[in-house]
Amino acid sequence: MIDARLYLLQRLTAIAMLPLIATHLILMIVAINGGLTAEEILGRTQGSVGWALFYGSFVIFAAIHGAIGFRTIAYEWLIPNIRICSVASFGLLIVLIGLGLRAVYAVIVL
C-alpha cells in the first residue's frame, strides 16, 4: 500500500506543519475575539509577503499530507484497489492545491 517514500513525505510534511498549525491555532483564538470581519482578515494579509509564504506553504504541505492520508484510508476502509485510491487521492491533491492557492491569492493579492 504505502511505501517508504510516501511515508517519508507524509512525515516530513507533518513536521513542517507543526509550527504552522500552532501559529494558526493561536491566530484563530486571537482573531475570533470580537467576531471575524473581512476587513480584519484582509487588513492583516493583503500585500504581505510573509503571510503569502506562510499560507502558500501551509496549503501545499496540507494538500500533500491530506492526500496521502486519504489514499491510505480509502484503501483500507473503502476500495481495496490501489490504482483507484491513488487516482482519487491525486484528485484531492489537485483540488486542495488549486482551491488553497486561489484562497491565498484572494486574501493576499487583491
Binding site: 500500500m1 517519508l8 484503501y75
Partner: protein
C-alpha cells in the same frame, strides 16, 4: 472456585470446509481450568469432529492460539476464570487474518511466507571455520534486538493486527519484528536486502501504531516498537545524510 457440578456454556465458531456455523456445549467446570482444557473436553466428550491445535500445553510452542471472547490468546495459558464472569458464556473462534482450514485450525502458510518475504532469516557472513564474533550483552545493537527476541511464531500479533485485516499484503508484526532483530545482528549480512523488503508497499510503513501486537503478545514482546525502529532505519537510509540509527 467453581464446584464440579457447575457447567460452563461454550460456543465455538466452526467451519467444515464449506460452511461456517456455531456449536454450543455445556462443559463441566473444574478448578484451574484453562480454555485448552475446555476445548479438549469438548472434543473428547461432546464432539470428536472439533478440530484444533496444541502441542506443549505449557506456553512454549505457540500452537494453541485462538480468539477467546474476541481476544487472541494462547488457550493453554488462559484460565477460564480470568475470561469468564459468573453466569456468562465463553466464545471461542479461530485466529483472524489467516484462512481457516477447519474449526479452530488456521492455515499459517501466508504468515510464514511473509517471514521469508521480510528476509526474516539469518544471512551468514562467515563460515564455521571463522572464529565466533564476541557480542557483548551490553552492546548497543544487541540491546536493541534484546526486547524483540523470544518470538515463537504463534501468530497472535498477526491476528490482533487491524492493518493486516485491512491489507492482505502487509507483512505484519511478527515478520517485521524478526527483521528488526536481524537488522541489529552484527553477524548478519542481509541488511540491505532486508531493509529494501520492509520498505516495499507491503512493508513496515503501513503500520499505524495501533499497538494491537504489543498489547496481545503473550511473550511480552513489543513488535510495534520494533516496527518503529525499522521505520527510522529505513528513513535514515533514504535521507542523503543518514545511514545509521543513532
Amino acid at each position: 472456585m467453581k464446584t464440579k457440578d457447575q457447567t460452563l456454556t461454550v460456543s465455538i465458531d466452526r467451519f467444515d470446509g464449506t460452511s461456517h456455523y456455531q456449536t454450543t456445549h455445556d462443559v463441566p467446570t473444574r478448578d484451574n481450568q484453562t480454555v485448552l482444557d475446555v476445548v479438549t473436553w469438548i472434543q473428547q466428550h461432546d464432539d470428536p469432529t472439533l478440530s484444533y491445535r496444541f502441542a506443549c500445553r505449557v506456553g512454549m510452542c505457540g500452537s494453541c492460539a485462538m480468539n477467546i471472547n474476541g481476544e487472541p490468546k494462547w488457550s493453554c495459558r488462559t484460565h477460564v476464570s480470568k475470561v469468564v464472569d459468573a453466569g456468562s458464556a465463553l466464545r471461542i473462534s479461530p485466529l483472524r487474518n489467516m484462512p481457516i482450514l477447519r474449526d479452530l485450525s488456521v492455515d499459517m502458510t501466508p504468515f510464514f511466507d511473509k517471514w521469508t518475504q521480510a528476509v526474516g532469516y539469518f544471512v551468514p557472513t562467515q563460515t564455521k571455520d571463522d572464529p565466533l564474533p564476541a557480542i557483548k550483552s551490553d552492546d548497543r545493537d544487541r540491546a536493541k534486538a534484546n526486547q524483540s527476541i523470544e518470538c515463537i511464531n504463534c501468530g497472535i500479533c498477526y491476528s490482533a493486527c487491524d492493518v493486516v485485516a485491512a491489507n492482505d499484503a502487509y507483512l505484519g508484526p511478527a515478520a517485521l519484528n524478526r527483521a528488526w532483530t536481524l537488522v541489529n545482528d552484527e553477524r548478519d549480512g542481509g541488511a540491505k536486502e532486508r531493509l529494501e523488503a520492509v520498505s516495499s508497499d507491503a512493508g513496515c510503513h503501513n503500520c499505524h501504531s495501533q499497538h494491537g501486537c504489543s498489547t496481545y503478545c503473550p511473550n511480552l514482546l513489543a513488535p510495534a516498537t520494533s516496527i518503529a525502529g525499522l521505520k527510522r532505519q529505513t528513513l535514515l537510509n533514504l535521507l542523503p545524510w543518514g545511514s545509521h540509527d543513532d
